[in-house]
Symmetry: C2
Subunit: 209 residues, 2 copies
């Protein structure tokens, strides 16, 4: 495997932008939404369904016979979620084997752990996340800072649940990453430029070993 | 305040080396052991005593009258520890005001929190810390990897206790830092060079705002 950078990120912390800019600086492949399309080609599910479950922990209803007997019928919704997740894992491994790349989210750091990607976690203060979210808000939404902060917390809770369900590790725990970047006071464009140089030099050095 | 970089670090993770190299790259002041000498000039305590308490939580014996009445006499040992810590805080603020600098350890990130220094936390896997420690081991020590790992854990426990006692924050919690660097797979010299360029560009950009 060549240079593979995985970016786990809090919602509205600029992780996706950092990843995209890193890929541009390093002239390497970039995988984010494309994963959804690629899963769709390999499974019978719709784009919207895949999008819904690809970064969320399966939602499990208790079986209807709960409390009366053990169910012999598998939970279809759970099985579909796991199916999407498993296809996603295969694709992430394919991307990593195919060429140098940046992969956004989806627990790719964990999926590729034996191949030692460069694992980045991007986060920011609540204030900075709200500010960033406001800049990207669709016209007419006009949510208050408090409402935005609540929405951001809900999305991040889902990402955390997804990551912890499938990896068994704590989301954003520094032990599972090479670099954790707080973007609250950073210009992401500038950061990406210098980080790209740094990552390239690390990679060259590791090749020489 | 100009450019102030604080480095909190796990023992044997290379944080001190990274800090020293950053100061060299940026041609700015570097404060580590000098803090001990400067505290000595301002207090009646010996160098060895200051060294002992300057990064450790005060060791508090229960007062001899514990359980029988409330003591009216202050705990001398506790008072001395707090005295050293308070002088250390004043010095850290003096350094930060005097010129651009790198300050190693001693909860400087927290002491200078209102001045917004660039806060780095340096850490590594236990395996990497043991390896680093072995390279620096005094001749004739010949400790096993298990013994070294235990010593490293004890020192880091003390640093954690110190930080949490005086700051009320969790040691190594990413919310309190701008960048967390895992040095397990990194060449620190190379890292310092690129990081210096990055930090300089962040600073220039903030000045322009």
């Amino acid at each position: 495997m060549g240079l593979v950078i995985t970016i786990a990120r809090e919602f509205s912390s600029g992780g996706r932008e950092l990843g995209r800019r890193l890929a541009e600086e390093l002239l390497i492949a970039y995988y984010d939404k494309q994963i959804i399309e690629d899963i769709q080609k390999k499974t019978p599910y719709s784009m919207s369904y895949i999008e819904e479950v690809s970064e969320h922990r399966p939602f499990m209803l208790p079986p209807i016979n709960c409390g009366t007997s053990f169910s012999l019928y598998p939970d279809v919704s759970l099985q579909q979620s796991i199916d999407v997740h498993s296809t996603q894992n295969d694709l992430i491994k394919e991307y990593a084997e195919k060429s140098d790349c940046v992969i956004i989210g989806r627990g790719a750091d964990y999926t590729l752990r034996e191949l030692h990607p460069f694992r980045i976690f991007v986060y920011a203060s609540e204030e900075a996340k709200v500010k960033r979210c406001k800049l990207r808000e669709a016209k007419g939404e006009n949510l208050s800072d408090k409402q935005l902060a609540k929405q951001i917390r809900i999305i991040n809770k889902k990402r955390k649940n997804y990551y912890e369900y499938y990896t068994g590790q704590k989301w954003g725990d520094k032990e599972n990453f090479d670099l954790l970047i707080n973007t609250s006071n950073l210009d992401i464009k500038e950061m990406a430029h210098h980080l790209a140089v740094l990552i390239k030099s690390i990679q060259q050095e590791q090749k020489q070993k």
